[in-house]
């Protein structure tokens, strides 16, 4: 694991899941998983289907609770917090399927997060307009979200999450359903979230080339256990990962 900023003499603000276990009726969905995410970095969370990736994200964002272990946000134990409290505290997420507020306009979708986090209506609107511009959604501002094309709706999911001014963003399979041509857009979006919004991003995806390209570190789960962590280069040559996840074809391909 990367050390947590020892040069500054204390731990950097981070999102930490420590010793997480989650059992469903005898099935060990997660077994002693520890993961740390700092601001201004992108960490990939990969693993085969059923490895426990979404369960871990659900536990970190309050939609599920661990059987053992704890979640800390910048030094505060948030293990028992509700999802909305975590949302207000700076922890945002997107979902596998598009989760937008279908009958609200695109602009209103983004305003919700800002309003819920205490912004005044006028500030929420200017925040939304700013994000509409950043994500290239301005032309759709007054369209009900239900009428957005799939690719745009995924962008809206990110914009909605950024509306809360998060410090950490957990993205659950943002590339699912995108065609190859749309992936570079997603890459630059994730980079701008990290660099310009100074957000720590935890990225779950099956698209290995996306993960390898954009992540600073990668965390690999298999059957609820951590089997490897490291830089993309380290993960690429890790035999366990190759066997468990990438298959005999080796790294660089996409698995899905």
């Amino acid at each position: 694991m990367t050390s947590s900023g020892t040069e500054t003499g204390g731990p950097q603000p981070a999102l930490r899941a420590t010793g997480i276990r989650r059992h469903f009726e005898g099935v060990h969905a997660l077994n002693d998983v520890t993961l740390e995410l700092h601001r201004h970095e992108v960490v990939g969370l990969i693993g085969p289907n059923g490895a426990g990736k979404t369960t871990l994200v659900n536990i970190m964002t309050g939609f599920d609770f661990p059987s053992a272990g704890s979640v800390e946000l910048e030094g505060t134990d948030i293990t028992g917090w509700t999802p909305h409290r975590r949302g207000r505290a700076g922890l945002a997420r997107t979902f596998q399927a598009a989760h937008s507020f279908a009958r609200l306009t695109v602009r209103e979708n983004i305003e919700v997060g800002a309003l819920a986090c205490g912004a005044r209506p006028r500030d929420a609107t200017s925040r939304a307009d700013e994000l509409l511009g950043v994500l290239g959604l301005t032309a759709h501002a007054d369209t009900p979200a239900a009428f957005l094309p799939q690719g745009e709706e995924r962008k809206l999911g990110v914009a909605r999450a950024l509306g809360t001014r998060p410090r950490f963003l957990l993205m659950d399979e943002p590339a699912a359903g995108l065609n190859e041509a749309e992936v570079p857009d997603l890459v630059s979006l994730i980079r701008s979230v990290r660099n310009e919004h100074e957000v720590g991003v935890l990225l779950i995806d099956h698209n290995v080339s996306l993960i390898m390209e954009v992540c600073d570190r990668i965390h690999v789960l298999d059957q609820g256990r951590t089997i490897a962590t490291g830089s993309p280069e380290e993960i690429r040559v890790n035999l366990d990962v190759t066997t468990a996840y990438l298959g005999r074809g080796g790294a660089g391909g996409s698995h899905g």
Partner: protein, 341 residues
């Protein structure tokens, strides 16, 4: 943009004013039917504030209506009559004597307080569970009122209650709840609640405390339902617990669904059209003259026709007459769809 938004309020208000005006030109039982339509619409708009914005069904709102009706009735029935026919009432209720307007305020306050108390446990529920729990509330409320003669008329009729719900009060009452409903819809709280209606998980992760927003809307909606109960008591002149029970629960929900759940315009249109049709058919069963023709329908026609029309609307327009959308600005160059959120 501002004109378009204002139209979402002005449109329903103009429609209500027109109904009130036309009704005031009628007389006899038709005139009473028009006033009833306005009061029923008040209940439906109250219901919309919670159901339309939260997407959670409530079978319990008539509890707040009956509380408002009995409170307004007990507070305005002459003391000497109460002493004679409702002598079991708590002494402070026997002595309570309020003016018409004060009784309406009391009805609204009690409706809101009751809704808040009931909402504290129930607003944690969603979907079918919330529906069943709110249904339990109306059953419990009805049984308490029907059997506890210290707080109301129990199984008897309460009255005579001063019949002050004329066209002016009925119209003002309805316009008032429409204005409050519209004002609420423009708030950040309502926006958060509608987001939760569309997608609870995304709303929560955006920081929306769904429980708190639902409880707030339920309380406001309960206060408005209480007010409409007061108007109803002063319309009928006498109230029994059976008049304000399941029939009213289902017909008001049906009006909301037929109009289109999710928009204020849908609530107003659904209520006025179905209540209006209901009133007309009730008159036609007793013979009514329309444009020189005498219409005399056999007894029972009213419910059959109403049932068929409601079923037909839902078959052919499942999202209701308005599609759950607000009234769109009629002078736009292109037919833009106003979002119903």
């Amino acid at each position: 943009m501002a004109a378009r938004r204002a139209w979402e309020l002005i449109g329903p208000v103009l429609l209500v004013a027109a109904v009130g005006f036309v009704g005031s030109l009628t007389s006899g039982s038709m005139e009473f039917q028009f006033r009833s339509v306005l009061v029923i619409a008040t209940i439906v708009v109250a219901l919309h504030v919670f159901v339309g914005n939260s997407g959670v069904i409530s079978f319990g709102h008539v509890s707040f209506v009956v509380l408002g009706a009995i409170a307004a009735g007990v507070a305005t029935t002459p003391a000497e009559i109460k002493a004679r026919s409702l002598s079991e009432l708590f002494p402070f209720l026997l002595d309570l004597q309020l003016s018409n307007i004060e009784s309406l305020v009391l009805a609204a306050v009690l409706g809101g307080v009751f809704a808040f108390l009931v909402g504290v446990p129930i607003m944690r529920l969603s979907g079918l569970q919330a529906g069943i729990a709110t249904f339990a509330v109306i059953i419990i409320t009805n049984n308490v009122f029907r059997n506890w003669d210290r707080i109301g008329p129990a199984a008897r009729a309460l009255g005579p209650i001063p019949e002050t719900t004329g066209f002016l009060q009925a119209t003002i009452g309805l316009v008032l709840v429409i204005v409050v409903a519209y004002g609420y819809q423009r708030t950040r709280m309502a926006r958060m609640l509608r987001a939760a209606r569309e997608d609870p998980a995304a709303a929560q992760s955006s920081g929306v405390n769904i429980y708190r927003q639902r409880l707030l809307a339920f309380t406001l909606s309960g206060a408005m339902a209480g007010l409409s109960g007061g108007l109803l008591a002063h319309l009928l002149g006498s109230v029994t617990t059976e008049v304000v029970f399941l029939d009213l629960t289902f017909i008001t929900l049906a009006m909301l669904v037929v109009g289109g759940i999710g928009s204020l315009w849908g609530a107003v249109v659904g209520a006025l059209s179905i209540a209006g049709l209901n009133a007309f058919l009730a008159e036609a069963e007793r013979e009514v003259g329309v444009f020189g023709f005498d219409i005399d329908l056999p007894s029972g026609t009213r419910l059959v026709v109403l049932g068929i029309i409601m079923a037909a609307v839902l078959l052919f327009r499942p999202s209701g007459l308005t599609g759950g959308r607000e009234l769109s600005w009629p002078f736009a160059r292109r037919g833009r769809v106003a979002p119903g959120g």
